[in-house]
Amino acid sequence: MTTITSGPPEISSSDYYLLDELLTDEARDVRDRVRGFVDRDLLPVINDYWDRAEFPFELVPKIAQLGLVGSTISGYGCPGLSRLAAGVLTRELARGDGSVNTFFGVQTGLAMGSIALLGSEEQKQRWLPGMAALDMIGAFALTEPGHGSDAVRLETTARRDGDHWVLDGAKRWIGNASFADVVVVWARDVEDGRVKAIVVGKDADGRYPDGYSADLITGKIGKRAVWQPDITLRGVRVPVENKLDEARSFRDATRVLTSTRGGAAWESLGHAIAAYEIALAYAGERQQFGKPIASFQLVQHKLAEMLAEITAMQLYCFRMADLHEQGRLTGPMASLAKMHHARKARQVCLDARDILGGNGLLIEHHVARHLTDMEVVHTYEGTDSIQSLIVGRDLTGISAFT
């Protein structure tokens, strides 16, 4: 006979189906390490950085100490995590804070991911170990002022001039690119019209090459504790050996993005878990009409719905990780999860905010931060509409983008 026990499961109140029992030892270890960092180092300081729109440089060495930068990449000082462990890592970081998770994602998934996927052996040796130690910070410059969803039409140019590539153009929303050591710039080769990836680095004195400038985007409402500048490239000269060897067309940029898109689904899950756990705890404590608000039907219903979404999201993510591990995850499959999770997690954060009443407006209760950060997740890595069109094209065989 099965027994139904009451009371919250031990590990975490959001893991209602005890799904973390399905984790491998490796993934469980990653979970605990990241959770320790989040609870001990990140949560106590993050709200203040977020409020002031400052990047928490003090956390960088602590992130490095986790030994998890580089995530699924093997060798070159990277931990070679399974897809499941990598997903749990993202979930736990986002449960702490979206800005720090974005910093980590740009470094690991986008910048290091490009080099690991498209760099030559020499290029991997040159950059990855330093990046894994966070001695070198990376950035990934694809989006342009005129091209976000249709990045495929990007206009930044690369012109071969002897031993150099010369870059001209503008990029927008490029995380870390105001201080990064390794900026992977996607540009169109004027010769063959194809998109290539060229690394702009700093010189020995830590200066960017002439013609490279970065202007922070200010007045952001979400993800305030991580910086994205606009960058301009005016005749920026980069040695030929900085072109990633295997980056031959826009399709290669898409390959990098496909493997990070699943990350945005895990990230959404992390935000939803954080918001739900905060709301559940608050509802148990807050009294109105002489009893905890958790005793009202409308509140219980909301909590149950949030949990149902979280449990479903979690299952999606586990399966996605398995398929990814087996090499069977397609881009559209990852898109389906990203689209679904971004939408659901935004709703979970909204409901959590509501349960906190006026206090939900205050940064000190964290929910407001998760809610606005979710707005960003909803847009980046391909918007809601774009994901649905990627899936739609896969289903019907007909592209509806244009």
Binding site: D51, T143, G146, H147, G148, S149, D150, R153, R172, W173, I217, T218, G219, K220, I221, G222, K223, Q287, Q288, F289, G290, K291, S295, F296, Q297, L298, V299, R346, L350, R353, D354, G357, G358, G360, L361, L362, I363, A368, R369, L371, T372, E375, V376, H378, T379, Y380, T383, D384, S385, S388, L389, A400, F401, T402
Partner: protein, 401 residues
């Protein structure tokens, strides 16, 4: 012919020339005085004291009150003004609500002749600022559980307690404080003993500290008030308010304004998204050319048109003097809920640019989270309507027969 993009059902045809004239005047005020500065005010979390005087000059404070220097406009006119102000920013509309619908209307409805003479003209001019202290740290949705206490002593009253989330309290000249008393029915305990007090904010023992940092409503001030041994003269009490009926009748005024205001914010977000969609090109065409974008814009228009109709009907009932408080809940609940959905959808149309203060939708959406909570949360209005429909109050579920 009506401009379908901006007034699909020709709702302008439902308003009188005077009403439209007033609306256009407020719209121009918002365009000139609020829009150019709002991103900065929001980012810096600042409320401009000067704008209060300008609103006084523009006759926007205590609009629907008569006499004592107040403009004496209709409920519909007041609603239209709230809509335009909130198209600027919910924080500025909140200022007008707190000053006019809460603080001034409490004095106007329940104050003595002396109270009215002393405070209302200056408040209508924006020279004096008022605030309204009902909510407490432990009493939000359920104000009857308030613990702030006013003791009747020989030469007056002594107030003790704490209030939370009180708009404008740090810059107010006078606070309307609701407290339980040792007089009347249910002395000291029951909600029936609740009275309102006019507390000049320079009275010893009164202090206010701003609540920060906030996610939304950053261009407005809310504060925590502490009242320690605040001694007031006997005539500080509002003579004509007893029990929660007093503060609730003020809340009804403010809730009414909110249903219009929310639609103003929604309209502004929609207009921003529409303009952007027509201009922003992806895949070689304006994004307004995509079906999914058109659907988003159409859904916004549907809800804005309906929401304005709800507000207008409520306003006409109010002007006719037949509006019942439970009817206000329908508009507050519906219009704020829809406005949030509209602003969030508008935000997505703007892509990455939608998360900056260069565009209004996410600012509005974050502001509206406050609006959803104050003046009765979604759940509270659901339960007010539920009680009206079924005859059974379910606020403290489980204890009813």
């Amino acid at each position: 012919m009506t401009d379908l993009a901006h007034d699909y059902l020709d709702l302008d045809g439902l308003f009188s020339a005077d009403e439209l004239e007033l609306r256009d005047r407020v719209r121009a005020f918002v365009q000139e005085r609020i829009k150019p500065h709002i991103a900065e005010w929001y980012e810096n979390a600042q409320f401009s004291r000067e704008i209060a005087r300008e609103m006084g000059k523009a006759r926007l404070l205590g609009m629907h009150l008569s006499g004592y220097g107040c403009p004496g406009r209709s409920a519909v006119e007041y609603g239209l003004a709230a809509m335009e102000l909130e198209a600027g920013d919910s924080g500025l509309r909140t200022f007008v609500s707190v000053q006019g619908s809460l603080a001034m209307s409490a004095i106007h409805k329940f104050g003595s002749e002396d109270h009215k003479q002393r405070w209302l003209p200056g408040m209508a001019a924006g020279e004096l600022i008022g605030c309204f202290g009902l909510t407490e740290p432990g009493a939000g949705s359920d104000p009857s559980s308030m613990t702030t206490y006013a003791e009747r002593v020989e030469d007056g009253w002594v107030l003790h307690g704490a209030k939370r989330w009180i708009g404008l309290a740090t810059i107010a000249d006078v606070a309307v404080i609701w407290a339980k008393t040792n007089e009347g029915d249910g002395a000291g305990e029951g909600a029936a003993s609740i009275r309102g007090f006019l507390v000049p904010t320079d009275t010893p023992g009164f202090s206010a500290t701003a609540i920060e940092p906030k996610l939304g409503m950053r261009a407005s001030i809310q504060a925590e008030i502490t009242l320690t041994d605040v001694r007031l003269p006997a005539d500080a009490v509002l003579p004509d308010a007893r029990g929660l009926r007093g503060p609730f009748s003020c809340l009804n005024e403010a809730r009414y304004g909110i249903m219009w205001g929310a639609m103003g914010a929604a309209r502004d977000a929609y207009e921003d998204a529409l303009a952007y969609a027509l201009e922003r090109r992806q895949f070689g065409v304006p994004i307004a050319a995509f079906q999914l974008t058109q659907q988003k814009l159409v859904d916004m228009v549907l809800e804005i048109q309906k929401g304005v109709l709800v507000a207008l009907q409520t306003g006409r009932l109010k002007d006719a003097g037949t509006l019942r408080p439970q009817q206000i809940s329908l508009g507050k609940l519906n219009n704020v809920r829809e406005a949030i959905a509209i602003c969030r959808e508008a935000r997505t149309v703007l892509g990455g640019n939608g998360i900056t203060l260069d565009h209004s939708p996410l600012r509005h959406a974050n502001n509206l989270e406050s609006v959803r909570t104050y003046e009765g949360t979604d759940e509270v209005h659901t339960l007010i309507m539920g009680a009206a429909i079924t005859g059974i109050p379910a606020f403290s579920a489980g204890h009813q027969p």
